[in-house]
């Protein structure tokens, strides 16, 4: 990369199961908050990359009424219809090309109050087979994935409870989180009801309303606009087949492929030691170890050890999702971008009680599809390097 790209600022809503306002108002407020924080107006932004989903919005071309509230009137604008982290990746490429100096990435969803996320997921199935057969849904697919991991490494359900408990406790110190419990224990999680065994209610993501905006700029511009830019050091993404029956669900080859490229770009050779904190988009408790292991942050099949030794705690050796992750908040279309925002807080020392001491390099992850079919990885650093 000849040019450098950094995150100038980021804002997110207080995520909620019902944010109590129309989408346009939510976006307008969000972007105005960012403008005020940085001290700019909409005219200081060259390019807008939006991210939302037509089926969640219940509207063909979900962005037709989103452009003007985010300030894109008479501006360059485009939409990535995937997880929000992909919009950040696209915006970064646009700046790298040299054509734009600044880009605002905005992702949002009213999946908590306006629509039914399970239905959004049903629409993702192969309409000529799985959607017709009608047996697969997001929860039982997740259960298959959890079972696959347990069978592969001979684990019982305890590690799921432990992961959810840790995340719920983390959620309690994240002011933006939707679900949280400051004294959550594995036993507490295990007392929630089963959906599809081995998955219980508290192993699954809650439906969230919310939005996130991230302002990117080329290096020089970023330094002008803020004191502590967060540098984008590397990113990539990859995809697996949509056929659940043809995937090794206990692992995530697409995450591995994406991570390899992102690490290479960022000059990371030993991720477990070099990365200080990671925000993982896990919609279910078991996805966290599957993704972390494919990222090379933990050894394969180590979920139980990680939990027993508190390795993934904020104070642990490899803090994972200090924000509470997908178990506390999962904003469809924006989850990955929110992870980026959370990482930025860590790198600029603004994470409050969730602060990982001396965090310098962070990893944000985003996913799409059943059982994390598509995975994206972004490496961020507090140092320009």
């Amino acid at each position: 990369m000849e040019r450098k790209v950094a995150i100038v600022s980021h804002v997110q809503t207080k995520h909620s199961s019902d944010i109590g306002m129309p989408r346009e108002r939510m976006l307008f407020n969000l972007v105005k908050e960012l403008h005020n924080k940085v001290g700019i107006t909409r005219h200081d932004v060259d390019s807008y990359v939006l991210c939302s989903n037509d089926f969640e919005a219940g509207r063909t071309i979900s962005t037709v009424f989103e452009d003007t509230p985010v300030g894109a009137y008479m501006k360059d604008e485009t939409k990535v219809e995937m997880d929000g982290i992909m919009a950040l990746i696209y915006a970064t490429m646009r700046i790298l090309s040299g054509q734009f100096d600044t880009a605002l990435v905005v992702a949002n969803s009213l999946g908590g109050s306006q629509f039914r996320p399970f239905l959004i997921m049903e629409y993702q199935l192969d309409p000529t087979f799985d959607r017709q057969v009608g047996l697969i849904n997001e929860l039982n697919a997740g259960a298959f994935q959890a079972r696959s991991y347990m069978d592969k490494y001979g684990l019982d359900e305890w590690f799921l409870d432990a992961i959810s408990a840790r995340l719920l406790r983390n959620g309690a110190i994240n002011p933006y989180a939707l679900r949280s419990k400051d004294d959550a224990t594995p036993e507490y999680v295990a007392s929630s009801e089963y959906y599809y065994e081995p998955l219980r209610k508290l192993h699954c993501y809650p439906f969230s309303d919310g939005a996130c905006a991230v302002l990117l700029a080329c290096g020089e511009k970023a330094k002008e606009l803020c004191e502590k830019p967060v540098w984008i050091k590397g990113f990539s993404n990859s995809l697996e087949t949509c056929r659940l029956g043809e995937r090794e669900l206990y692992t995530s080859p697409s995450t591995k492929q994406a991570a390899e490229k992102a690490y290479k770009a960022a000059g990371i050779s030993d991720p477990a030691n070099e990365i200080d904190v990671a925000e993982i988009s896990a919609k279910f408790a078991h996805q966290e170890p599957i993704i972390c292991e494919s990222l090379g942050l933990f050894p394969e099949g180590s979920a139980e050890d990680v939990a027993k030794n508190d390795l993934a705690e904020i104070t642990g050796k490899m803090p994972i999702s200090p924000s509470g992750g997908g178990i506390c908040t999962y904003v469809f279309s924006a989850a990955g971008l929110i992870n980026v925002a959370q990482c930025c807080q860590q790198l600029t020392g603004e994470a409050g009680d969730a602060q990982v001491p001396n965090a310098k390099i962070a990893l944000a992850h985003g996913q799409d599809g059943f059982c994390a079919q598509h995975n994206s990885v972004v490496i961020l650093s507090s140092e320009e390097g």
């Binding site: 306002m21 219940g58 239905l119 087979f129 057969v133 929860l139 079972r147 659940l244």
Partner: protein, 153 residues
């Protein structure tokens, strides 16, 4: 920030749904014709030899063309879950009796087929069980002609 209570909005419901007719394509058409004859059709890659269900005409762009093959109706349970809920039109509701769903590797195939497993106590379900297909009495060339799987004796 605007105070949430100051925001005035209406909640609008659109009292209609939009209907579509998705074209099946040849491999799925053949799969359903197979169903009518109580056959399970998969496709086999002419290059790498992989046999998969649901059938398709290409094994990814990188590999070969696929041809239709009939596959065995007996297989091994490789993965399972016990459902205490069901999801209808995106809404979750409890089920009266737990449902066993399995991912079955039919003999000779390289993919797993998701199906309901009946006639087995949920507590006894485990990986490696041998199961066989059970058909509706008069198949009509529909997906649910293959009704469920049961333990193979």
């Amino acid at each position: 920030m605007v105070n949430q209570s100051e925001v005035e909005f209406v909640e609008t419901i659109v009292p209609m749904d939009f209907n579509y007719n998705i074209r099946a394509g040849k491999p799925i058409e053949d799969y359903l014709r197979g169903m009518a004859q109580k056959k399970i059709m998969g496709s086999k890659c002419t290059k790498c030899g992989k046999v998969v269900i649901p059938p398709r005409n290409v094994c990814g762009v990188a590999c070969g063309k696929m041809e239709m093959v009939e596959v065995d109706q007996t297989g091994t349970l490789q993965n399972y879950t016990i459902g205490h809920v069901k999801i209808t039109k995106g809404l979750m509701e409890p089920v009266e009796e737990p449902v066993v769903l399995g991912m079955i590797q039919l003999d000779g195939t390289n993919s797993l087929l998701v199906s309901e497993i009946r006639g087995v106590d949920p507590k006894q379900v485990k990986k490696g069980l041998r199961v066989k297909a059970v058909w509706k009495e008069s198949p009509e060339g529909k997906f649910d002609d293959l009704a469920y799987f049961e333990l193979a004796s």
